[in-house]
């Protein structure tokens, strides 16, 4: 157990415990806050995997963007007098069976497959080579992603601004 391992276990436990909090919390606001810590834990795991650019992107986009969106959604869809935003669960027993089967299968496959492991040193900084890849090998998916983001955001605005009772044109 060196320092790297200790940090890894700390981030892994933070991530998994927060994810358990997200999934099992009875209060949707607590679940949103647990999701915040889960995202931070995943960002720490990215740092341990020498993916600095993705880690920063994760914090900026997930914590700064998606989580804020989710919290807005929570606030706009729960009634003001309903402080304890309790929401039920359904199909717990089939869910446990399915999730157990999926997790068992995944972990079994992960453990038994002889993955090819390289001995390359990790990249010292990834932003520059990622930028080069995005502009050369992945330029078509990159442009498609930009168009998709534009379409999705315009569509989201149009869907969300439709007033109650009005017919879509």
């Amino acid at each position: 157990m060196n320092f790297y391992d200790v940090i890894f276990y700390a981030f892994a436990i933070l991530t998994i415990v927060s994810a358990i909090g997200v999934v099992f919390s009875r209060n949707i606001v607590y679940a949103a806050f647990a999701l915040l810590f889960a995202f931070f834990g995943v960002a720490g795991i990215y740092v341990l995997l020498a993916a600095d650019f993705i880690a920063v992107t994760q914090i900026l986009l997930y914590v700064g963007g998606i989580l804020v969106l989710i919290v807005f959604g929570v606030m706009l869809t729960s009634k003001a007098y309903d402080v304890e935003v309790k929401r039920g669960v359904l199909q717990v027993v089939p869910a446990v069976v399915i999730v157990g089967a999926i997790a068992g299968t995944l972990i079994g496959v992960f453990m038994t497959t002889p993955w090819p492991i390289s001995n390359f040193a990790p990249y010292e900084e990834t932003a520059r080579p990622i930028g080069a890849l995005l502009m050369t090998q992945f330029v078509l998916p990159f442009e498609l992603a930009s168009v998709l983001l534009l379409v999705a955001l315009i569509g989201a605005v149009i869907i969300a601004r439709r007033e109650k009772g009005t017919k879509p044109r």
Binding site: I45, I54, T57, F72, T77, V89, P94, P116, I117, I159
Partner: protein, 105 residues
């Protein structure tokens, strides 16, 4: 092999646990926003796999680029889903996925 020393397998197992928890959230939750949180957990677990294979596997930086695309798609998906949820809440006054069954009647 599986040792206490952190290698590829540890990251894969963390990702598998995160994936299973996300699936559990998607299946059991009634609230549509909680379902969205489960989906975000699933996407994060997939990203951990991509980046772990970038670090340990034989695919240079491709995994990280794919992870960026996954994050972009997650952002677009969250925006669309929240717009739909807000609209459903305006129309039906609920966001529970089991109560939105207007098409049945």
């Amino acid at each position: 092999m599986m040792t206490l020393h952190v290698g590829l397998y540890h990251f894969l197992i963390v990702s598998a646990m995160l994936f299973a928890l996300g699936i559990y959230g998607v299946i059991t939750r009634k609230n549509a926003i909680m379902v969205l949180m489960g989906i975000e957990l699933i996407l994060n677990s997939a990203n951990i796999n991509f980046i772990a294979f970038t670090r340990f596997g034989l695919m240079n930086l491709t995994g990280q680029v794919v992870a960026i695309f996954v994050i972009i798609l997650a952002a677009a998906e969250a925006a669309i889903l929240l717009a739909i949820v807000l609209n459903v809440f305006q129309q039906l006054n609920t966001v529970n996925v089991d109560e939105v069954d207007k098409l049945k009647n």
